[in-house]
Point group: C2
Chain length 176, copies 2
DNA sequence: TATTGTTATACTCTATAACTATA
DNA sequence: TATAGTTATAGAGTATAACAATA
């Protein structure tokens, strides 16, 4: 175990540090790739959830994305202003707003996925297909072990208040 | 290439996303482990640089850590208040402040390194030594390819102004 | 005139609480 | 009384510019 001797190891050999660097770099890269799409990372994450769960209330969306309901208000505001979602009244409970994707919002989804593809390619472009798959597998194992929800970004997560622990499976959110 | 088919791949299979998740998680974990040490991540990064470069001016430290000199003022203030560094006047150039580690500051370094060890262990605890080394190698390659400086965290980096591009090698900074 | 360090201002994000309208 | 959504306020963090002392 000579490569892992303790104490003064340079930071490039510290997985914690490199993960932190790469996480930040990944965010920045994806931000950049998302500019031509016209939404932010956070907004895209929200649209991605709605793709699988159209018509949920803001409260339910808060729960899935693990953000505070106060923040959800602003997020829906932004997307509604951009014409990507719309709020509809629920006749059964007129307090609740059902959030629906518009056609424009739905049309935007594949563009965002393409940006994600491009982001993965840009980050892992130097790796062979085999190395890439090895890396993905190891990252997924580490994320599992850390109990990170498969599609919720911890950067948006909100500790306090009312958040029903639940995982949306394939749908998800983007990040920070 | 069946595991990598495009379009609706869940986020857990998106390396960009998982890297972002894990980067955030790593930050949070290290923050936690650093609490008993009594410094923030950023402060520890600074102390780590000083370990290799005691007595540099604030301007030089700004350059190494790639933060703005205005921010460096506050960082040195914090550390000086905590008694971990001290500013000394340079007789040759009385504008410049040489920043020196105090004994207390130096004594704190191994505690921070131990926290880093613990952070790595907590994050990668589930992996075998071999898998761990494989992951570290792949992460380092990706970081190299992204032109991330081996010991500078991009979250602190400052775009504008005067920053002499330089790498401190073993010394470094922590982050965000 | 340029440079080192400092301070002040503004802007973004987020956290908390308080408010309204329904139930 | 509790809940869905909204609004307002305060606090961190950061970016920009302007400033005093020295070169």
């Amino acid at each position: 175990m000579h490569a892992f001797d303790r104490s003064v190891r340079p930071l490039r050999q510290r997985p914690s540090f490199v993960l932190s660097q790469l996480g930040f770099h990944s965010d920045r890269t994806f931000d950049e790739l998302l500019v031509p799409v016209g939404v932010t990372r956070r907004q895209f994450g929200m649209l991605r959830v709605l793709a699988d769960a159209d018509g949920r209330t803001q409260q339910e969306l808060s729960s899935v994305l693990r953000v505070h309901r106060n923040v959800m208000v602003g997020l829906v505001d932004e997307l509604e202003t951009a014409g990507l979602v719309e709020r509809r009244r629920n006749p059964a409970d007129r307090r609740a707003h059902a959030v629906h994707l518009t056609d424009r919002g739905r049309a935007l989804l594949p563009m965002g996925e393409a940006a994600l593809d491009a982001c993965d390619d840009r980050l892992l472009g130097a790796l062979s297909a085999a190395d890439r798959e090895t890396l993905c597998g190891l990252l997924a194992r580490v994320a599992d072990e850390a109990h990170l929800l498969p599609s919720v970004h911890p950067g948006y997560e909100h500790a306090g208040d009312e958040l029903a622990a639940e995982d949306a499976g394939g749908g998800g959110q983007l990040p920070r």
